[in-house]
């Protein structure tokens, strides 16, 4: 899922304070799983901003609402009226939702979250990165662990010389992806595959190739 983290209140306040009617708009799917940016969090954020407005002596009307996903047209239908009311929207979706809203409505849309990464729920309250959407998945060659997302140097023929006691050279809090890969290969009785040189990667399917687009002709609605 897409993991997000709410921006500092001060930064949010500075983005909206000059508007008169602001809608705090939640997105209740990915980011809501890490209890950031969901419809409930949008409600809490709206009341914090109202308090902030009172403290600052600024006259501003703040409402909250939200939908299931801000990255699909159909979910917006039932909230058209609330969005129309607002002079500006504070979207607490990931960066995708923020941009999708901005494309739909001719009014300012500000991000309430920092989109942090594509990750997993390791345990309640702990989320960790797993994928960088490089567009050509090779985790099968690495025992099911992605060195692109999880090695600080995205080394395909690792580990580097900085791996110590299972940890990455950048921090004792970060696992060395290549230690994990070697451990996994051992578990799968495939350590012999370690010595195969991984070829130079074609990054054209990654961000390097420009903005990406996927078209499924078979499911496309041409009507």
């Amino acid at each position: 899922m897409i993991v997000g983290e709410q921006k500092p209140l001060e930064e949010i306040w500075n983005s909206i304070k000059d508007h008169k009617k602001v809608l705090v708009f939640g997105c209740n799917t990915c980011v809501a799983v890490c209890q950031q940016g969901g419809n409930k969090e949008a409600e809490i954020l709206a009341s914090m901003l109202r308090m902030k407005a009172t403290q600052e002596g600024v006259e501003i009307e703040i409402k909250d609402s939200g939908i299931e996903r801000q990255c699909e047209h159909e979910f917006f239908e039932k909230t058209e009226e609330e969005v129309d009311w607002a002079e500006a929207v504070l979207s607490t979706a990931c960066g995708i939702g923020v941009q999708f809203m901005a494309e739909k409505y001719p009014k300012p849309v500000y991000p309430g979250l920092n989109t942090t990464f594509l990750g997993a729920v390791e345990e309640l309250g702990v989320y960790t990165e797993r994928c960088q959407a490089c567009g050509n998945c090779g985790v099968g060659n690495f025992g099911g662990i992605c060195p692109i997302a999880r090695c600080a140097k995205r080394i395909l023929n690792g580990p580097c010389g900085g791996s110590t006691m299972g940890k990455c050279e950048i921090s004792k809090d970060v696992d060395c992806a290549w230690q994990l890969i070697v451990d996994r290969l051992k578990l799968l009785d495939k350590l012999d595959t370690y010595e195969a040189l991984k070829p130079i990667k074609d990054w054209s399917t990654d961000r390097a190739g420009g903005p990406r687009k996927l078209v499924r002709e078979d499911v496309k609605d041409d009507s």
């Binding site: 140097k153 080394i155 130079i200």
Partner: protein, 309 residues
């Protein structure tokens, strides 16, 4: 064994001598006088001088410019190149730039993470990794081709090397990792600084068991300790460094004003011991900002005079 490139380092190794290299870090400014002085200090006692590439991710004059400087002084540089800062276009372009100046040695590295340096907020590139850079160098030299497949007019002639750190984890793949670097094209290896000789010898045993010491020239890396404080710092703060307690203790038990001398002595003892280790073909003496000590170490270790090749 005969040398395949005009590299003096390769020729020394091919002739069966112990090779000796050292390294110098480029300045944090544009004044060449310091690096010229460092090179002058060591030039008669080493076969080649590594020029580091923004080591520890601190921005400095580029390795290539300093290698060219050494070349114009009639010296033999080893161009260190990390994959952290440049994509494949820039890497190949710099390799050609080095070949333009007839620089015949290259050491392919991934580089320390940028968070250690003075540009911690910067991007890292890692379009290739160190092994893929080795493959690229060998392709450019041996096949005379760019990665894209086009022909290179006057291909580079380079003796291609890599680093090996026998002390990093997981230890069990450290021999396999060397095999992989050899497969990628490493003609010589310069190891991480060796302080834990027992562990290094254990690694070398694994290397010899697979005959890898005959497929590449392994040069043992050594850095003399200046003080007990430096030993503690290397032990606790430098990633992938294995400094046994007895090394720290021996320095700490030495009076402060004699610790540097003791550090030099320990370095010479290590070289003497490593000469007995089958498969060691040379020594890479990295006297960090202490270049003036290199001649004395080389002489005391019986590695002087350097052979004419």
């Amino acid at each position: 064994m005969t040398a395949k490139t005009p590299s003096k380092l390769e020729k020394v190794l091919a002739a069966g001598h112990y090779a000796v290299t050292s390294e110098c870090g480029p300045p944090r400014g544009s004044d060449p006088s310091g690096i010229v002085e460092k090179a002058e200090l060591i030039k008669n006692h080493v076969d080649a001088i590594n020029i580091t590439d923004n080591q520890t991710s601190v921005c400095r004059t580029c390795s290539l410019a300093v290698c060219i400087r050494l070349k114009t002084m009639g010296l033999e540089p080893v161009l260190q190149m990390v994959t952290r800062d440049r994509n494949r276009i820039a890497l190949m372009s710099d390799i050609l730039g080095a070949a333009h100046w007839d620089i015949h040695n290259i050491l392919c590295l991934s580089g320390d993470h940028q968070s250690f340096g003075d540009c911690a907020k910067g991007q890292n590139v890692h379009d290739l990794d160190s092994m893929q850079l080795l493959q690229t160098v060998r392709m450019m030299c041996d096949e005379g081709k760019f990665l894209g497949g086009d022909e290179i007019k006057r291909p580079p002639q380079m003796f291609a090397g890599a680093a090996a750190n026998p002390f990093a984890d997981p230890f069990e793949i450290r021999v396999a990792r060397l095999a992989k670097k050899i497969k990628a094209g490493a003609q010589f290896i310069q190891t991480q600084c060796i302080y834990n000789l027992d562990k290094f010898e254990e690694w070398m045993q694994g290397v010899r068991d697979r005959g890898l010491h005959e497929e590449t020239a392994i040069m043992a890396g050594l850095t003399p300790m200046k003080s007990a404080g430096m030993a503690r710092y290397m032990k606790n703060r430098v990633p992938g460094m294995d400094v046994p307690d007895e090394v720290v203790k021996r320095l700490a038990d030495t009076p402060k004003d004699k610790q540097a001398e003791e550090g030099i002595k320990m370095c010479i003892e290590s070289i003497e011991r490593l000469k007995e280790c089958e498969g060691i073909r040379g020594f890479h003496i990295m006297a960090i900002e202490w270049e003036e000590k290199v001649p004395g170490i080389v002489e005391a270790a019986g590695l002087y005079p350097r052979p004419e090749v």
